[in-house]
Symmetry: C2
């Protein structure tokens, strides 16, 4: 709580106004035809290109201030916009415009014995709040996905990117205006007051879903304080299990790709499980790859026995829970499928887990019994991604079990209502 009750009141009034405006805009958007929403996206893309210079100037201010504050290179890297990034944002808006409209899709419409027809219609959620860190390109991306799916949105980016975000949001506003849509369809929280996040995530009368995008600290804070449903992604402790009789060529390719293609992503493998029957043949080969690429191996005694001397250190209990997001991997030898499934159930994060196997029935069991958002057979965990899954866009990856699991595209920003068609039908 801030010390100044007046400041608290002002913030609260400002947030309520944002919420109320968003709710009104959502009602208008729910009536807006596909064409208007697409026109707004295309006009916003044009505005981004036209105003590139102004956007870069605003960004330069943010970068300068962040440097003065002593932010590190990685932070500046995420904050920095270039002409190329602005072009990519514009391209992103055009791609979203080209996606099929999820809103209004009617499915499963069928006659019932009573004579009524019953079906489902896909509709926007209403108002979505996106809370993110100092990555200004998220402003364009998240705003576009919400608009496309007919949702009003409230964007709260990192305070260090406020000038950049305002410059980008202004382009989105140009697009909305050009298409005759309410400007409150996409609102940026203008204050840098950290209390704003707490206010947003508790306004359940105005906001239907919150999507935090950023590091674990941000997501945990939002999840803890929220009274609004949160589409959240916590840990990504992903496993690859190399089964008895696996094709070791495939296993090598998949384990290498799942670990080393990118170290910092949530769908990167963190623990490699190997059936004891394959340990002797497989572990020395994969160790060569990891050693060559500088991946630190932390092994249980069963795995250690088959790794080159000194190549690995002993894993501790914590290693099985760890999401390294770094060139480090935990390796364990298991008796077989049952032990692999039990390990994943105990230590995993229900994100993405893969089996490498040639054995049909064991693949079938793994698919059924591993309770993760993405379960894979003979494929790299790195495929867990909205674009790879054909969603055309990705608002985030969910480790929730309700509403949406795994990569979430436009569909995750909608729900289905029931529609009933009759001709004077009554219930008897």
């Amino acid at each position: 709580m801030p010390d100044d009750p007046q400041a608290q009141n002002d913030l609260s009034a400002a947030m309520t106004a944002l919420g109320r405006n968003a709710r009104a805009a959502a009602a208008e958007l729910s009536r807006a035809p596909t064409g208007a929403r697409n026109a707004a996206l295309l006009a916003a893309a044009e505005a981004l290109v036209d105003r590139e210079r102004a956007i870069l100037a605003a960004n330069a201010k943010d970068v300068k201030a962040a440097r003065a504050e002593g932010q590190d290179d990685a932070f500046i890297d995420r904050l920095l916009l270039t002409a190329k990034v602005v072009e990519e944002m514009a391209l992103g808006l055009r791609q979203v415009a080209a996606l099929p409209d999820p809103v209004g899709e009617v499915t499963d419409l069928a006659f019932r014995p009573s004579g009524i027809q019953v079906g489902r219609m896909r509709v926007p959620l209403g108002v979505v709040a996106i809370i993110y860190e100092s990555r200004p390109d998220v402003t364009a991306d998240a705003g576009a996905l919400c608009l496309k799916s007919g949702n009003a949105c409230i964007l709260r980016g990192g305070s260090e990117a406020l000038n950049s975000n305002q410059a980008i949001a202004a382009c989105l506003a140009v697009g909305l205006k050009a298409a005759g849509l309410p400007e409150a369809a996409i609102q940026l929280v203008a204050t840098t007051d950290r209390q704003a996040v707490g206010a947003l995530v508790t306004m359940d009368q105005y906001i239907d879903m919150v999507v935090p995008r950023g590091g674990k600290g941000l997501i945990e804070r939002v999840a803890k304080e929220a009274r609004v449903p949160v589409l959240k992604h916590l840990d990504g402790v992903c496993h690859v299990y190399v089964d008895d009789g696996a094709d070791l060529g495939k296993a090598l390719r998949i384990a290498d790709n799942a670990k080393t293609q990118r170290y910092g992503t949530c769908n990167t493998m963190e623990t490699l499980l190997v059936a004891v029957a394959e340990a002797k043949a497989f572990l020395p080969e994969i160790a060569k790859v990891f050693v060559a690429k500088g991946v630190e191996m932390r092994a249980d005694p069963g795995a250690m026995a088959f790794l080159p001397k000194g190549a690995a250190i002993a894993a501790t209990e914590e290693d099985w829970y760890a999401e390294y997001l770094a060139p480090v991997i935990a390796i364990r030898v298991v008796a077989g499928l049952d032990e692999a499934i039990a390990h994943i159930a105990k230590y995993g994060s229900q994100h993405t887990d893969a089996i490498v196997t040639e054995h049909g029935p064991r693949a079938r069991r793994f698919l059924r019994e591993v309770d993760s958002a993405s379960v894979m057979v003979n494929a790299s965990t790195r495929f867990a991604d909205g674009f790879e899954y054909g969603l055309g866009a990705e608002i985030g990856i969910s480790t929730n079990k309700l509403h949406a699991r795994g990569p979430v595209g436009l569909e995750g920003l909608t729900s289905q209502k029931w529609i009933v068609l009759g001709d004077g039908h009554v219930r008897s």
Copy 2:
């Protein structure tokens, strides 16, 4: 908080044990074939029939105690079991056994440009807690739906029905045992301590969803305290709008049925909206029906002008928000579709709303723009029901916007995970 810290510790330990056992049972259930779950349901049905006498004896104890406590007739009515109710419970279990298994259904499996196949598999949520009042038949019904959908469940019925619930739960346990499934798949909370509910709805490490079934007080309490997602149904302020040029024969039939077929259900119409163009012809006719059936009318000035003198009283602002659940109706004359939609958006509860119209484009607008769980054209709001919609069962009606809206059947007790099939595919 109870005064006795020891009692609090005991309760907490007992609830944790329930949660842990449920989680373990859920893992077993996720592997159990359809046949085993159905066999358990059929054996439980048989046990209900076999043990009818013991169930009625347990129920007689509960009824006697409730009478001694001075509970009213309506309460006793809900609590009372008869031979017929026991038979119906058994029949209900057999019907659930006969429903198609939602678990494991794979949809949308398709090849992606990378060569992987991506699809979705329907899976149980895990552990579901059902919190209900003193209606012992819910024990059989809710337990059956959770079991069928592969979820372990924790049942917390009203404390006045504890003996009855235990007798019924014992039959479900017989079924589970006969089918070789873990008895902890269906657990009944044995304590009558009211703190148990608070403990249940905050155990997010063990429970994936809470379904409160009962009056508004119960649901509000659960929603307020819960840290676990709640499948909830709050108000049902349902509207029928009679449009310009509606077929007044259909309008009369639908308004009559929507209001008077049953007064106490959530899908009963509470407010009738009439386009001004039809007010003169329609209102005197529907008034005859309502007068004949003893339905109290509360009208705005526009409607009052067309109702027989003294037949209605003046509606107040509160009437438009009211869920009467009684032979009372609010009636308002509106200019047309826009005003009707605006009224529903302002005063409605996003449950079920219907338009009576012969006009295609206005029907299309109503379907699209009314943001309710069920939106109907020329049909009675009373159709908003899992059985009428063909779900085969109903765990509840949801006014949530995420996960499941409207009548919720077995599908609402499941979610979809992604499955990916490859043959050594890696991401490039």
